[in-house]
């Protein structure tokens, strides 16, 4: 696959460029993308490929997993306090949030918060380990441990690349991502990025 441009460690990177880019990403809370997803489950020795539409809004999250020929495979919707999984036969399953839905119904453990930040190339809330940056200050790679205090370590490595502007926003966002832990690998090739900025939101209401 395409070779990755060079990246430098945090100490060698231009702090001003990093801060500028992260500031651009900080207030983005309403966005959507369409991607090809490869999902490797090392625990069960399974791998799946699908198309995914990920729609994040200030108060809700909607994910549609589909296949170009087989159609919709699953829809996940999260609202304040609950989440619903609808399968390809319109059966519905409920839980408190998407992470819990995935655990209960698909036996899959995914740090949705981490993924949400990684998708934008944004610094996650938790401590970054060994971050590296591209020349323009965008985040190239990092590791992070998302386990709760007292729990077994759950370390993820995140690789980001192919930064480009979204269709209607100046911020550079990654169009290729790879997230890997000891149990899973998720690869995303994003074909369509859309960011709804606050002015657009008020325009919507």
């Amino acid at each position: 696959c395409a070779s990755r441009p060079d990246s430098v460690s945090e100490t060698d990177a231009d702090q001003q460029l990093i801060a500028t880019h992260q500031a651009q990403l900080a207030d983005i809370d309403n966005w959507e993308f369409q991607a090809r997803m490869a999902f490797f489950n090392f625990r069960d020795n399974e791998r799946h490929s699908a198309s995914i539409r990920w729609q994040q809004a200030p108060e809700s999250l909607y994910i549609r997993i589909s296949h170009p020929l087989r159609g919709t495979l699953a829809q996940l919707e999260q609202q304040p306090g609950y989440a619903i999984l609808t399968d390809d036969d319109d059966n519905q399953y409920y839980a408190r949030d998407v992470s819990e839905l995935l655990v209960q119904n698909l036996n899959i453990y995914l740090p949705v918060e981490l993924i949400n930040d990684a998708l934008l190339g944004r610094h996650p809330g938790t401590r970054l380990l060994q971050p590296r940056y591209f020349e323009d200050g965008s985040l190239a790679s990092y590791q992070v441990d998302v386990s709760e205090p007292g729990q077994a370590s759950d370390r993820w490595s995140v690789l980001l690349s192919n930064y480009a502007a979204a269709q209607n926003h100046s911020a550079l966002v990654p169009h290729s991502l790879e997230l890997e832990s000891s149990d899973y690998r998720i690869r995303l090739n994003i074909s369509r990025w859309q960011i709804i900025s606050p002015e657009d939101e008020t325009h919507y209401d």
């Binding site: 369409q34 090809r36 490869a38 999902f39 490797f40 399974e46 791998r47 799946h48 490929s49 198309s51 539409r53 549609r64 589909s66 170009p68 020929l69 087989r70 159609g71 919709t72 829809q75 609808t86 390809d88 036969d89 319109d90 059966n91 690869r187 090739n189 074909s191 369509r192």
Partner: protein
């Protein structure tokens, strides 16, 4: 009767080869994906469906099994052809037995013949087919019943040409993961 009329038209097809452009629309009628590739169909059992963009994938139906290779995850999945209509709704175009067609309801809308599977659960997938003025199959449409609609525009359509037998066999590339889901592999 629409079913009989459609089957008569399909009866004229022994083999069909075409390029396709697929556009996938979501429930808001927004274009989500664009794919390209080529298909070869030989009734009553055989289908070769190869997508070249955005990733390379190949689906081959050989009458008994459906072989689906996806380069994005370097995996070959194998299914029983009898149970894999959901893998590719196009497989219904191959069937020519009364028993197979008894599972489908056919209606007409504008220039589309709409084929709906009566046996499915709460969600009904609808495959629609359209023919050009010369009676050539030129457009397909799949409505998955949950908001996703795929439209396939066919071009360079050739009918009833000789097709090499190996078009409908498939061997996995070196290093591919094998995911054999057949009841008796």
């Amino acid at each position: 009767d629409e079913t009989a009329e459609l089957r008569d038209r399909l009866q004229e097809i022994d083999t069909l080869q075409a390029q396709f452009e697929q556009r996938v629309y979501d429930e808001r009628d927004l274009l989500q994906e664009e794919l390209q590739g080529e298909l070869t169909l030989k009734r009553p059992h055989y289908l070769h469906w190869e997508t070249s963009q955005p990733d390379h994938s190949v689906m081959v139906a050989d009458g008994e099994s459906v072989w689906y290779y996806n380069s994005f995850i370097e995996q070959l999945s194998i299914f029983d052809q009898a149970q894999s209509l959901e893998q590719n709704p196009m497989l219904v175009l191959l069937s020519d037995s009364d028993e197979a067609w008894s599972d489908f309801a056919v209606t007409r809308e504008n220039d589309y013949w709409i084929i709906r599977d009566r046996t499915q659960g709460q969600v009904t997938v609808a495959l629609s087919v359209a023919f050009d003025e010369e009676g050539l199959l030129n457009r397909l449409r799949v409505d998955d019943g949950q908001g996703q609609i795929s439209v396939f525009e066919l071009s360079e359509v050739t009918l009833n040409q000789n097709v090499a037998a190996d078009k409908f066999t498939f061997s996995a590339p070196e290093g591919a993961e094998i995911d054999d889901q057949r009841t008796n592999p």
